[in-house]
Amino acid sequence: MFTVALFSAPAIAFMTFDFVFPNISSPSLGKNLLAAFLLAALFGMPSGYLTRRTDLAIVTVILYVFIGYILSIIAYSTPFLFYDFRIIFPDLYIMFFLNMTVILLMLFVFAGFIGVIMGQLLAESFEKEETSQSFSRGRM
């Protein structure tokens, strides 16, 4: 579950950071919520595709969104965590980030769930095809 979550977490982290600083991040989605939603759904698919149990897949979505969000906060705080820049109002600084991204956070979870469903449908479809192919090979 954690391994699968690590596949999708960087995308969530980058999209969140990009949503706050679309002018300096590259490549940028430019605050396009539809593009963020579609990408988030796409990155929900590995969880559904690689995890057979739906409840675990849903927990994986919540896990990778959480990890991605924490990574984006670290990226957002890079000048202050790893360099000698000083934050004047730390509380406001973090509140600003939360305020800017809270809707996006919900969107990621929602899109992730949809991605899980699509991923599981895809996995089932592949399995059906593999089964039918192995049966047809058996007849030959």
Partner: protein, 199 residues
């Protein structure tokens, strides 16, 4: 079946996911690094070494000059947007009475860029020969004399106000909505030198 076995079995999707994860990790690191560079430019770009001058010419006019340096030690170029310079005499005897001496302005069309890790020197020189302005300055000198101050055209306390604005690396800065104007401010430099102080 364990996760690793599942990943091996579905290797194509796993490889795609890993490639995407690497791509977005690199993009995040690059973007965070850009953010650090922008913050660094915001903090480190300064005006310095201002030299003001006023020289009386033979024909009675005054040559007013300023030379000031813009130091850009950051890793990003600066696109200069506007440079303005005004010189005035501030008379505080009855409220604030500003006597304009001269001014100059350069706008975005000039395409001036200050390269990274470089120092750009701005020099403005103006000959003030307008009789009305010279008369106003003479009036200030005469008035000051009654107050015990002995000024000449060269020693009058001219207040130089120099301001330079620009954009860091020309990152997008045309955001209009209230929630997005912080992006303009982040990529913007706005430095002033006024009356001997760097602001």
């Amino acid at each position: 079946m364990g996760v690793m076995a599942e990943l091996r079995k579905r290797w194509f999707v796993s490889m795609l996911s890993i490639a995407a994860a690497i791509f977005f990790t690199v993009a995040l690191i690059v973007s965070a690094n850009t953010y650090v560079n922008v913050m660094d430019a915001n903090a480190s770009v300064v005006l310095m070494n201002a030299i003001e001058g006023a020289e009386m010419l033979d024909n009675g006019s005054i040559l007013v000059t300023i030379q000031i340096q813009l130091d850009n030690p950051s890793d990003l170029d600066l696109s200069i947007s506007t440079v303005s310079w005004t010189v005035a005499i501030w008379n505080y005897t009855d409220g604030v009475n500003i006597i304009p001496v001269t001014s100059a302005y350069n706008g975005t069309g000039d395409g001036l860029t200050v390269k990274k890790k470089s120092v750009e020197t701005f020099t403005y020189q103006v000959i003030v020969s307008d009789s009305t302005r010279l008369a106003n300055i003479d009036g200030f000198i005469n008035y000051s004399m009654t107050q015990g101050q002995d000024y000449t055209l060269e020693t009058v306390p001219y207040v130089h106000d120099f301001r330079v604005t620009g954009w860091i690396a020309d990152y997008p800065h045309d955001y209009q909505t209230y929630r997005e104007t912080y992006l303009n401010d982040m990529a913007r430099i706005d430095l002033s030198y006024r009356d001997g102080e760097y602001l």
